[in-house]
């Protein structure tokens, strides 16, 4: 018998949470709103979702395979990207566009910058914007729930006509996963309870938009329940990799997102401001992280109490 044992650096026990576990929690939290989207928009929405999920995971798998890198699909981050991208697309999106979006998200936005943890913008969001500027006519086609009527108008275009109840429960046109504020909030609460996300970003984001809407004479509730604010604030802006790590940084980030969203919606000619606002704040995040907010314990000379 050899008397030698294995060595390892302390600590010798680890918390049960893993990267894959956190990612799976996010998928679970997104599931109700995604399923609801498939129910109200029908099979075409389901196909879009399946297309983005499968192509996202496959793109990551092939990238690692071809470049002989360790396989990373097990960390579930590609799955999250696929689900998020699908939920951010209109149910009328052609499948080939959805697939291009996933490939752009995984290959261009994530892997080319070094993979998980190194992407400087949220892959799903950036992919959505790539699609939006590349295929504007396809990307702005929306359909009414249940029926197959194609309309280009989202509730953002005619806010006055839609009731708060419709907006809250999501019986209106929009992207697959963004319509039901109710289910998105449930998912967000789940993530907060599981301590996966910190509520600072969603609250400051949504709060800023509501406040600015109220000041400018709009109905703040309608403003925050329409479009992609709930999905963006709860699930996209809180992406760990592309948001600040400190609480004060998160607050700056959330307020910044809210401000830019409002400005774009109110004064811009774009149909939606959430994606751009988060994208811009993603890019500013490294700067926010450089604000020295943290002093080590005992940094100042010790004083007797």
């Amino acid at each position: 018998m050899s008397n030698l044992l294995k060595g390892s650096s302390s600590p010798h026990i680890r918390h049960e949470d893993t990267t894959a576990g956190i990612m799976f929690d996010v998928v679970l939290a997104l599931a109700p709103a995604a399923v609801y989207g498939c129910v109200i928009f029908g099979l075409k929405a389901l196909f879009v979702l399946i297309a983005t999920i499968v192509s996202a995971v496959l793109a990551e798998y092939l990238w690692n395979l071809i470049l002989k890198k360790p396989q990373t699909i097990g960390d579930m981050s590609a799955l999250v990207t696929g689900v998020l991208l699908g939920m951010n697309l209109s149910p009328e999106t052609p499948i080939w566009i959805a697939i291009i979006g996933s490939i752009a998200a995984i290959i261009v936005v994530k892997q080319m910058f070094g993979g998980l943890g190194y992407n400087f913008v949220n892959p799903a969001l950036a992919a959505r914007i790539i699609l939006l500027v590349s295929f504007p006519s396809f990307m702005t086609k929306f359909s009414e729930p249940i029926s197959d009527v194609v309309s280009s108008a989202t509730p953002l275009a005619d806010l006055k006509a839609t009731s708060i109840k419709t907006l809250f429960f999501g019986m209106h046109s929009g992207c697959i996963g963004e319509t039901s504020a109710f289910l998105l909030i449930i998912g967000g609460l789940y993530l907060i309870v599981r301590r996966v996300i910190n509520p600072i970003i969603p609250i400051s984001f949504i709060g800023t938009v509501a406040l600015l809407a109220a000041v400018s004479g709009e109905n703040p509730l309608k403003y925050i329940l329409s479009g992609g604010i709930m999905l963006g604030a709860i699930f996209m802006a809180t992406d760990y990799v592309t948001s600040p790590t400190e609480n004060i940084g998160k607050l700056i980030f959330g307020i910044g997102c809210g401000l830019i969203t409002f400005v774009i919606r109110r004064f811009g000619s774009l149909p939606e401001g959430v994606s751009y606002s988060i994208l811009i704040m993603n890019i500013i995040t490294p700067l926010i992280n450089r604000i020295p907010l943290r002093h080590p314990f005992g940094f100042k000379e010790g004083k007797k109490v």
Binding site: S10, I13, H15, G115, Y118, Y240, G298
Partner: protein, 445 residues
């Protein structure tokens, strides 16, 4: 202290801290005395500072408590025989760190006869306390192994007013300090009052984590019976967030004082003593028996029947595993100390030292192996009790940016292990912090 009086709450609470599983499986199990009739190997260096110099030679008869090596300089500690028997010589032996250390090999006669010359130690002045600690061979039994007489020496400059008795025992699994509180409560309280009187302290705080209500109750009851006029011995209930027992943390909790970088507890007017150290010191003062045996918690995922064992210092780990009927083939790692800060044992030749308080025998745990990239969740920095940013240190380490270590204040790291523990990506953050500190130290030289 009134019986009705409640334990104090912490004066301040640290930022962060980890919520660990407690695994205190051995808490309610009476300490078992491990029978010894084999050979012990007593290391000459079981403390921080210079190794002791042997005063025995091959063939000498020794008893339990006989001085076998005396201290070598100011920061050093004497070593005593832990068994009665015959000195077989001085040998090199691989200990925890896999470095070889000189050990005195003593063959036990199995009788454990105490040295007939041992006699109680008279305490008259404050200096006698420090002398007693030195003669006892006492070192920080919480794990640090710093010679206790050094910090108990009343120097002119130090303005000590508070004694903190550390019974937090914040590491999972370990219950040896807890058992001390339960089994030797009278000794602990008597020692507390003795130190308070002789060292002329304004305040004594006995700190226990709130997951040990029985120990708190017992200590309060006994303290109430021996209360003195000015009523300055207090019990404090600490939250059970790791690392409450870390020296800087417990001082902050008990007094609200922060020990600056590179300073000692005495610089903020505090002495921190581990509860078992205190009890041992009192035992020495009353009986004259120096530090020759240690209560250690033997537990871990590969141990079916965890126990607290009282073992002579110098007992090889192999003998303990045999006694506990642990199948060595099922074992992945053996850790000396707690799971958060303990050291892995390189070989079963390692022996129980003065500062050993637990022996953890672990099966392989896949969770500690597979890592993913850092997802910047920020948990490490939220958990860090020293308010550092371990993930950023890791980035600097990967980039070879040594200058950044200093800017990120790695020297403040107490290596408590919380960052590695909490990391969902299972990155070896504590290990990197340790390397970063060592690199900075080397560079300064």
């Amino acid at each position: 202290m009134d019986k009705k009086e409640k334990a104090l709450s912490p004066v301040r609470r640290i930022h962060g801290g980890a919520h660990l599983p407690h695994f205190k499986n051995t808490a309610e199990i009476e300490t078992e005395i491990m029978p010894v009739n084999k050979t012990v190997y007593i290391p000459l260096s079981q403390h921080i500072g210079a190794p002791a110099s042997p005063v025995v030679k091959k063939g000498d008869e020794v008893f339990v408590g006989t001085l076998i090596a005396e201290e070598n300089g100011f920061i050093s500690a004497p070593v005593h025989s832990s068994v009665s028997g015959t000195v077989k010589g001085i040998v090199d032996r691989a200990l925890t760190s896999a470095a070889t250390v000189k050990c005195i090999e003593i063959e036990s006669d199995g009788k454990m006869t105490p040295d007939p010359e041992l006699k109680p130690f008279k305490i008259e002045t404050a200096k006698d306390i420090s002398d007693a600690a030195k003669a006892c061979g006492l070192v920080g039994l919480g794990g640090a192994g710093f010679p206790a007489h050094v910090k108990l020496l009343p120097s002119k400059n130090a303005n000590i007013d508070t004694l903190i008795i550390n019974a937090a025992e914040c590491e999972p699994y370990i219950t040896s300090d807890y058992r001390e509180c339960i089994e030797n409560v009278d000794g602990i309280i008597a020692a507390t009052f003795l130190l308070k009187e002789k060292l002329q302290l304004e305040k004594v705080v006995i700190c226990v984590e709130n997951n040990k209500p029985k120990a708190i109750k017992k200590l309060m009851e006994v303290a109430a019976n021996s209360r003195d006029a000015d009523d300055t011995v207090k019990l404090m209930k600490l939250p059970s967030t790791y690392p409450q027992g870390a020296e800087k943390v417990i001082i902050y909790s008990a007094t609200g004082r922060k020990v600056p970088l590179g300073k000692l507890p005495s610089d903020v007017g505090c002495i921190v003593m581990n509860v078992t150290s205190l009890a041992k010191l009192y035992d020495f003062i009353t009986t004259g028996m120096p530090l020759t045996s240690k209560r250690i918690t033997v537990d871990g995922t590969a141990v079916a029947e965890p126990k607290n064992l009282l073992v002579p210092i110098g007992t090889p780990i192999n003998d303990i595993l045999d006694y506990m009927n642990i199948d060595i083939d099922s074992v992945d790692r053996v850790i000396m100390g707690g799971p958060m800060m303990g050291q892995p044992v390189a070989s079963l030749d390692a022996v129980v030292e003065k500062r050993t308080n637990a022996l953890l025998v672990m099966k392989s745990d896949e969770r500690t192996r597979s890592t993913t990239a850092c997802i910047r969740c920020g948990r490490c920095q939220r958990t860090c009790p020293m308010n550092l940013t371990p993930a950023r240190v890791e980035t600097a380490y990967k980039n070879g940016n040594i200058q950044a270590y200093e800017n990120l204040n790695v020297n403040y790291c107490i290596e408590c292990g919380s960052c590695s523990y909490i990391c969902p990506a299972k990155r070896p953050l504590t290990e990197v912090m340790r390397i970063a500190k060592a690199t900075l130290r080397r560079q300064k030289k």
